[in-house]
Amino acid sequence: MAFWNEEIETMPREELEKMQLRLLKEKVTEMYGKSAFFRKRMDEAGVKPEDINSFEDFRRVPFMKKIDLRDNYPDKLFVVPYDDIVRIHVSSGTTGKPTVVGYTKKDLDNWTEALARGMTSFGLSKKDMVQNMHGYGLFTGGLGVHYGAERIGATVLPISTGNTNRQIQLMQDLPVTALAGTPSYYFHIADVCDQMGVDIRKDTKVRKGIAGGEPWSESMRKKLEDRTGIKTYNCYGASEFYGPMFLECEEQNGLHLWADLAYVEILDENDQPCKEGERGAIVITMLQKEAFPLIRYRIGDISAIDWTPCKCGRTHPRLMRISGRTDDMLVVRGVNVFPSQIESVIGEIPWLSPFYHLTLTNANYMDSMLVEVELTEESLTDDMVKLNKMSAELSRRLKDVLNIKADVKLCLPGTLPRFEGKANHVTDNRNYD
């Protein structure tokens, strides 16, 4: 079994934890000096950097939340000048405002290191050719996987998303051995291969794949593997903490959380630490992030941690499958969608009432999203051309904010369900079995 950075990857737990505590203390001290936001939060909580001498002490440090990122848009949480920032990524935000993340040279280096370790852990090397089907651009998936694969010496085919026929053509023409993409796109590839009469096992050399960007179940993975012969490895990340970062190894038994780069807590509903193996909210601290540090960030995902040494020989803790959200965020075709984003678009359009409903389905494992919203009494018209124009405008404005296409349906006033108390605006009919 090959390692990318054997010394770190196999370091005993005690040593890893000792390093984590040292890095935590350093990061908190540094942030307290550099970040007005962080210093204010610490002062409000009555905590000083010198108070932190154990993981227990560290739990006194206040959380960072998604709303903090939004409130500090675009770059108020950066703690280095733009002179030292070499790249920017931008992801969709909660209420129309995106999250902007800056990277120093060191940040890019650590991000790439994390992926190089992960790719090596499931057997990729310079002998492989990786067809990167993640989108290149402001989204972190494309460039993250790209540089990770280059770092281990693999050949990268930077094809990006879309044009499925061409993807399949190149898969056959070139010695591509591994893919990277979202689970739903793998299923789409499999469907189109069937239509084109292409047998991935016979007509290509593709045998491995990185799957990330959206949730899927173990049974979906099994189905895809049986159907295509591509063994897939889960990947977890978020633009807030670099991008895609943590991968499964050959064992396919949890994501290796690189403990020298990230300190992950799992907390219960009272913000108390869960027992090892118990599920709770993920709270992540990036130990070596420079441009846009994250301290005790509540990402909103629910999972558990397992420190049992992995059969692969790596000692770092493993993050189990993500099993839900602590908030109402939805992941649709790999894109984060908050009902509040849809509410904000509807709120800006005077001819719509605030009543809406969102329905998610996934025929053939491709997500689709239907937004039904009521017209107001005043705007209701029997002119079809006007109705079509309104429908098109809503569709366009949703796409601008959500970054993905939604089907829209204008409804008659008073016809969508009303709720007493907390409204349930979402029906998620997606099936992952």
Binding site: L380, T381, D382, D383, M384, V385, L387, N388, S391, K409, L410, C411, L412, P413, G414, T415
Partner: protein, 140 residues
């Protein structure tokens, strides 16, 4: 007396049985339809109807929970001969008045074209100047 006629636009969800339901309510309310037209968008269906007492019918239907709006239309008498539609449409086109939709009704030697235009007042003005006869609301 006016040449602008109030049409009732009745909105119904695209579901089986909805038109039957609306028709039975119209019957209960004693609404007499002179002419009507059915249209559907991808989202819902619309019954456009010329009725004998639009204001009263409107109130009755609303009380029954029906989604209904009053829409101004005009009714043009057409000679039941080839080219009659062209004559009316041409007048509106030349006056730069846009026809949103229309539907016709013919009985014996007489035909009426009900039209929804973007500027009904102006339409009445240009059509009457051409000597084309229009339906007045009191005739309905």
């Amino acid at each position: 007396m006016s040449n602008i006629i109030k049409q009732l636009s009745i909105f119904v969800n695209n579901e089986p049985g909805r038109l039957a339901h609306i028709s039975s309510v119209l019957k209960e309310c004693g609404v007499n339809m002179r002419a009507f037209n059915l249209a559907e968008s991808t989202e819902f269906g619309i019954l456009r109807a010329i009725v004998d007492d639009p204001d009263n019918s409107y109130d009755l239907l609303r009380q029954k929970g029906i989604i209904v709006k009053k829409t101004d239309v005009i009714g043009v008498y057409l000679q039941d001969t080839p080219g009659a539609l062209f004559q009316a449409a041409d007048v509106l086109g030349k006056a730069n008045i846009n026809i949103e939709y229309g539907y016709a009704y013919s009985y014996k030697d007489k035909a009426i074209f009900f039209i929804r235009v973007d500027d009904p007042e102006k339409a009445v003005d240009v059509i009457s100047k051409q000597g084309i006869k229009m339906v007045s609301d009191s005739e309905i």
